[in-house]
């Protein structure tokens, strides 16, 4: 069901603003919306920056060995304590942030030193200290690399000039060399060097022999690396206090959310607006009253052109399936919530796709304990419950089809592998019911909107035709044929009613009739239920067969067989849960929703205490 929403407008004094926002955040039922002229509260940028920093610090701790579990145990804290900013958390965050940037700069320094040391590798045999590799009164000096293939010619050319050359290591950049030229000959030498693609070497600005300088650089790099190691060790020591940083993160996050929107303000008053569930309006008023009596609060139903956020509400059994709808897209405000009708189909299809009672039992028990132990919340909880229900459905269908861990045992209905046509008929039958349900919903929606023509010509006409086909196959006599013709007639006559002119309209109608191929492919799509069920069953058989072969090979074989059975069936369950969930959802999204669903709702994100690491007890 879609919950009716109301628009809230609150006027109050700026002096009360912080307290009001805090109270509304604690209550968590109002979604504030920015409007023209509304501003964030002062300090929000600072909090934002601090929040980012804290997030990075937490990541830094994880990089240095802190655990980062998939389902973290949330630390319980009272609301009163949550409001007091943790000093330890803040100090630790600042300290770790400094450490992280220190490590980063030390790392880049060490890397630079190592690169410099490496650049000296070709010059280790150079017997002139580096600082003396420069000009004197009468000589000029060139240090660098010459491509190897240019060397013979260059040597020949330079021997005619007043210059001396000594060669060092041969590197990737070319032949390392030092050229000493008499001042007067230097222009010629330069010209020659350019001609032969000589490249200048960049040597570290240090004094001493190349070999000594290299050693010195490496030593310095090592010192820096040692300091990095010490800093990392220090960081690891603060891992036990990670909880304080996490609490600080949650506190900042709450402050960040609260400061986002301060509304429109005058010198001493302000106004905010937002959305609230109609049934919670009273409660919000009480919350405001609890803070101040200098306020004006109004609630109004959404006006034309205003799009309230979408809130779904369903019974306990259906509510988990909201996650399936959420994965697709929330329904548009004012349309229908498909959960109630979709849930039983999703439940049935999931079970038929897994179709093994043994797997169903394992799945049900596993999910039951997972839900008990990890206590997931929100979307994760809903998803887990959908799979938990799926497990129950799998057990039921497995018993129907006689599948128990890939072995056949007393099917209540029939064995799909032995009677594939019966199974296909069952799939198509359920598919037809699914599709027709979708079309009936659309018919109801059209009637509600007052579009009787649309309901009769685009929906009911098809339903009459399908009913005709159905009767043709099952009931003797011409009644089915007449109904099919009636339906087809309505479609041809009115399918093209948007067009002008009789001929164009009839052609339009005939083209509409061609949509039957679309309905047919929708229906055929349900054959996947059988195919996925087959995949589960036969792979389970394969696992059993392999285990059986191993079993006869003595004691080692028996151990191997048990391992194969455990790992194989586990793998088969995991891969097929994924397949069953994805494909039964797909049947909803493409085949079912395609018939009536209006997507494009926006999520309701109230101002609330959203914590990642802590659990606030009231």
């Amino acid at each position: 069901m879609l919950v009716p929403m109301q628009k809230l407008t609150l006027y109050a004094l700026k002096a009360d603003r912080d307290a009001l926002l805090l109270a509304l955040q604690k209550d968590g039922s109002v979604m504030l919306e920015p409007e023209a002229g509304s501003k964030a509260l002062p300090g929000s940028e600072k909090v934002s920056a601090q929040l980012d920093k804290t997030g990075q610090v937490l990541q830094f701790l994880v990089q240095n060995g802190a655990k980062n579990p998939l389902f973290p145990q949330k630390e319980a804290i009272s609301y009163g304590n949550f409001l007091k900013e943790t000093q330890e958390g803040r100090q630790l965050t600042e300290k770790l942030d400094t450490t992280a940037s220190k490590i980063a700069s030390l790392e880049s320094e060490a890397a630079a030193l190592r690169t410099q040391a490496e650049s000296l590798d070709p010059w280790l045999k150079l017997d002139i200290p580096l600082e003396q590799l420069s000009f004197t009164e009468t000589t000029r000096c060139h240090v660098g690399f010459l491509p190897e293939k240019e060397l013979p010619e260059f040597q020949k050319a330079i021997s005619g000039l007043l210059a001396d050359m000594s060669l060092y290591e041969l590197t990737q950049d070319g032949q390392a060399m030092v050229i000493l030229a008499y001042e007067d000959a230097d222009n010629d030498v330069k010209h020659l060097l350019k001609e032969h693609d000589f490249s200048e070497a960049v040597l570290p600005k240090r004094s001493g022999l190349a070999a000594d300088v290299r050693k010195e650089l490496l030593q310095e790099a090592e010192e820096k690396e040692n300091r990095i190691a010490r800093l990392k060790e220090e960081t690891r020591e603060s891992i036990p206090q990670k909880q304080q940083v996490e609490l600080y993160y949650d506190q900042l996050n709450a402050a960040h959310d609260r400061l986002q929107n301060g509304g429109v303000e005058t010198v001493s008053a302000f106004k905010v607006q937002g959305w609230v569930r109609k049934d919670r309006a009273q409660r919000v008023e009480q919350v405001v009253q609890g803070v101040t009596d200098a306020y004006q609060l109004t609630f109004a139903d959404p006006e034309e052109g205003e799009i309230p956020p979408t809130v779904l509400e369903n019974g306990r059994l259906v509510e988990p399936y909201e996650s399936v709808v959420e994965l697709y897209s929330l329904p548009k405000a004012g349309s229908v919530d498909p959960d109630m009708i979709m849930a039983p189909f999703h439940f049935i299809f999931f079970g038929m796709m897994m179709s093994d009672a043994g797997y169903g039992l394992v799945l049900t028990i596993m999910l039951y304990f997972a839900l008990k132990k990890f206590k997931p919340t929100g979307f994760a909880r809903q998803l887990a419950l959908v799979i938990f229900f799926g497990g129950i459905s799998t057990t039921l269908w497995g018993a129907m089809f006689g599948g128990w861990f890939g072995l056949e045992w007393h099917p209540l209905l029939f064995v799909p592998m032995n009677e594939p046509l019966k199974m296909l008929a069952l799939c198509f039958g359920l598919g037809a019911i699914h599709l027709i349900t979708g079309m009936l919903i659309k018919t109801k929606m059209l009637f509600r909107e007052g579009d009787v023509m649309g309901a009769v010509c685009d929906q009911i006409s098809w339903l009459i035709m399908f009913l005709g086909f159905f009767l043709m196959a099952l009931v003797p006599g011409p009644i089915g044929k007449y109904l099919a013709w009636l339906g087809a007639g309505i479609i041809v006559l009115f399918g093209g009613r948007d067009r002008k002119g009789i001929i164009s309209r009839l052609i339009g109608g005939l083209l509409t009739l061609y949509n039957i191929s679309g309905y047919l492919s929708d229906l055929l799509s349900y054959s996947r239920i059988f195919a996925l069920g087959l995949a589960t069953g036969v792979i389970a058989m394969v696992i059993n067969t392999v285990a059986q072969m191993l079993w006869s090979a003595g004691p080692v074989g028996i151990v191997a067989a048990i391992l194969v059975l455990l790992a194989g069936h586990y793998f088969n369950i995991v891969i097929n849960v994924l397949g069953a969930f994805v494909h039964s959802s797909r049947l909803q999204y493409i085949e079912f929703f395609g018939k009536f669903y209006e997507a494009g709702g926006r999520a309701f994100l109230p101002l609330a205490l959203r914590t990642k690491y802590t659990d606030i007890t009231k």
């Binding site: 996947r528 087959l534 792979i539 067969t545 494909h583 797909r586």
Partner: protein, 158 residues
């Protein structure tokens, strides 16, 4: 002595498992390369991208399934390989073709869609579900291939 028919039936089983397996290997590899790239930036997304990477792997399983049913019918599992006529063998070979070819190509293309779904996850992790659904759209055709191969294999009377 194995008859030509039996050998052809083996060819059918090999086609189904081999081609579909190759397809899945390629598909999973394409998705896996994309996944590693995303995980290198954000290791927390490992769970999400792993699901997407696994999707093109199902074709290999479907191929194995058809191959298994063929060799089961041939009696390889219980050790008494049946002698098939040439036409029976050819029928098995043809029956395995949809699964082999459909599996091979759909897995490769599904791998490509999975890779783009993985990039989608990198940019907008909250939309992973949609990436999974888009990837599963390709699988439809592997499922149809599996179904028709199964019905054909099941219809061959020995």
């Amino acid at each position: 002595m194995i008859t030509l028919g039996t050998a052809l039936a083996f060819g059918g089983a090999a086609t189904a498992a081999g081609l579909a397996g190759v397809g899945s290997a390629i598909g999973v590899a394409i998705a896996g390369q994309a996944a590693s790239g995303v995980v290198s930036e954000d290791p927390d997304k490992f769970g999400n991208v792993l699901v997407l990477q696994a999707l093109p792997g199902t074709q290999g399983i479907y191929g194995l399934l058809i191959a298994f049913i063929i060799i089961l019918n041939l009696g390889v599992i219980d050790g008494n390989v049946k002698d098939l006529t040439t036409f029976q063998g050819l029928a098995y070979l043809f029956a395995a073709l949809p699964m082999g070819l459909g599996g091979l190509l759909s897995a490769i293309y599904q791998g490509k869609v999975a890779a783009s779904g993985i990039y989608l996850t990198a940019k907008r992790p909250e939309e992973t579900g949609k990436g999974i659904i888009l990837t599963a759209m390709v699988e439809t055709y592997a499922v149809l291939s599996l179904l028709i191969s199964f019905i054909m294999v099941n219809g061959i009377k020995l």
